[in-house]
């Protein structure tokens, strides 16, 4: 029994494992309820195609929330970046146009993020206000620039940029969407940045206690500006993946990203309190959120149930994370054992 507790404790310490378990259970349930859909690889390929843009945003947002800040402006950046790419691509009908559009879109994301950073770190505007204003402003600016119209870029499918970022790569017999590979790569890269790099450590200490960070010699202002700039670039990248995948820019693109992205971060176990963040958790969290809607619909339950079930899964994940994080796992385990076999001594929880 003792062994069982410590093994469970050990397992919950592995970053992201509880969230991965939730995802596995979710797929398990879906396989049972809708075997025809969920035993083929097609549905999973469609997840790998649709989840990455939200996943990419959520990875960036994980860093921002770890630093104790929030960014509400990334949906606008997703739209702006898609517009810039599509516009440059249409305007200059040249082989270099997709690359130029791509780089310009990332640069604009960086600029928007940098301005957010200045407002928050230099002027001291709370990030929720600064980035909400930015969301309205840049979303409005994008609609104005685009005249409210969508831009079709069917020809982009023949470009190298398209192949590299949203093409299909055969792994075994299965054509895997490239954007899933890029999102995975970004997740691994950002895991190392957060957990094994100076920048990540600075982010954690600032989110933990900015005064401590300051007296330990961290340039809090510069780090915050850098962080928002990085978030801008990441959101622009998400916008590019989206626009390339669907071969069209539409002015409202990204407008539905805000809630699923935040949900992915919180399901993943990153705390709103700042100081600690889990890239691994966010990764699985984004797939949970992305699979739920399609999953529930495929079970032939009425579509009206989708949001309610999403709410349940999200609530359960967040509660699970809190129980694990607070180190209540051993107490909980003992309590349950005590319920099952009350004659056993209710072993005292050894604090950790």
């Amino acid at each position: 029994m003792k062994k069982g507790t410590s093994l469970l404790k050990f397992l919950t310490r592995i970053e992201g494992l509880p969230v991965a378990a939730v995802l596995a259970v979710l797929y398990g349930v879906l396989i049972i309820v809708a075997p025809r859909v969920f035993t083929g690889f097609r549905i999973y390929m469609s997840f790998l195609q649709t989840v990455p843009p939200v996943l990419v945003c959520a990875l960036g947002l994980t860093l921002v929330i770890t630093a104790g800040e929030i960014d509400l402006s990334f949906p606008a950046i997703v739209a702006l970046s898609g517009f810039i790419f599509a516009w440059v691509f249409k305007k200059f009908d040249a082989p270099w146009a997709p690359w130029a559009g791509f780089i310009l879109a990332l640069a604009c994301g960086a600029l928007v993020g940098y301005i957010n950073g200045l407002l928050v770190a230099k002027i001291g505007v709370p990030s929720i206000m600064a980035t909400l204003a930015a969301q309205f402003f840049w979303y409005g600016a994008t609609i104005l620039l685009a005249n409210g119209l969508q831009l079709n870029i069917k020809d982009v499918t023949t470009s190298i940029v398209h192949t590299i970022f949203v093409g299909r790569i055969n792994i075994g017999q299965v054509p895997v969407p490239m954007q899933a590979i890029w999102a995975l790569g970004l997740a691994i890269f950002l895991w190392f940045i957060l957990n094994r790099h100076k920048f990540g450590e600075e982010i954690m200490f600032i989110g933990d206690n900015a005064n401590v960070a300051r007296v330990m010699g961290i340039d809090v202002v510069a780090t915050r500006i850098k962080l928002f700039t990085v978030m801008g670039v990441i959101a622009a990248f998400a916008g590019l993946l989206l626009t390339l995948e669907i071969n069209v820019f539409f002015p409202t693109q990204g407008s539905g990203f805000l809630l699923p992205t935040m949900a992915a971060v919180f399901i993943g176990g990153t705390s709103i309190a700042g100081g600690l963040g889990s890239i691994t958790g966010t990764f699985f969290g984004a797939y949970i959120i992305g699979s739920l809607e399609a999953g529930v619909v495929a079970t032939t339950i009425s579509g009206y149930w989708v949001q309610l079930i999403e709410g349940i899964v999200m609530g359960a994940s967040v509660v699970l994370n809190i129980i694990i994080e607070e180190g209540h796992i051993a107490t909980t385990f003992n309590r349950i054992r005590h319920w099952v076999r009350p004659d056993q001594p209710n072993t005292k929880y050894e604090g950790n």
Binding site: F192, R196, K198, F205, N209, A213, R214
Partner: protein, 262 residues
Amino acid sequence: MAESPVERNALRMVNIEKYFGLVCALRKINLEVGSNEIVGLIGDNGAGKSTMVKILTGVFPPTSGEIYIAGNKVDLRNYNVKRAHEHGVETVYQDKSLGEKQVLWRNFFIGREITLPFGFLNVKKEKEIANEIMVNTIGFRGKGITVDSKVSKLSGGERQGVAIGRAMHFEAELIILDEPTVALSLKEVAKVLNFVHKIKEAGKACIYISHAMADVYEISDRFVIMDRGEIVADMAKKEISLKALDEFLLEYSHGMKDKVEL
């Protein structure tokens, strides 16, 4: 090392003044701290003790005056926390020295990471050295505390021990403790005082700020008393007993009261 005795001071502050707008927080502060001396800095709330600490550690510059650390003049226009660290000034605060939710090894090296190329952390090395500091410098043994423990699991005294150990590891010439025991139980205070003794043994200098007279008296070689931004008394331990010091402070605050009533 044939330096003159004056130059072997850990710290010399000359005519330091600090204004916040029109408010004068420090007035003509002249203070010396010997190279292996523990100075107890005493004063009521608002006397300007923390303001002096912040100037010394580069959080903000003084309005005027000069600072010499181990005989070297500090360029105050280009002074910041990192420079202060380079000069060998380390500070332990009551509550803002450590990141609560972070593991110990990160806390030892925050702001001064040991890095591999491209700014990635040399985690193995950092953990090794952190462990070495914990075992040898501050004498943490057993109790299930490792370099992977989070700060939130440590008691208040242990936290200050980590902060002091960190300061000693980075070869501080001068360690400043700004009210390190305010929120602690007696037992935890004893632990902190024990760590301060290690600073003395290691041959370093220390400014210990407190308004708990008893522990300041025990560990200090000298007492400096501040009031309303000025140093009002400076005496060696052998010149005054604890009782006399207590009485002096009491009388002094009465004295001030009288002045206010004038």
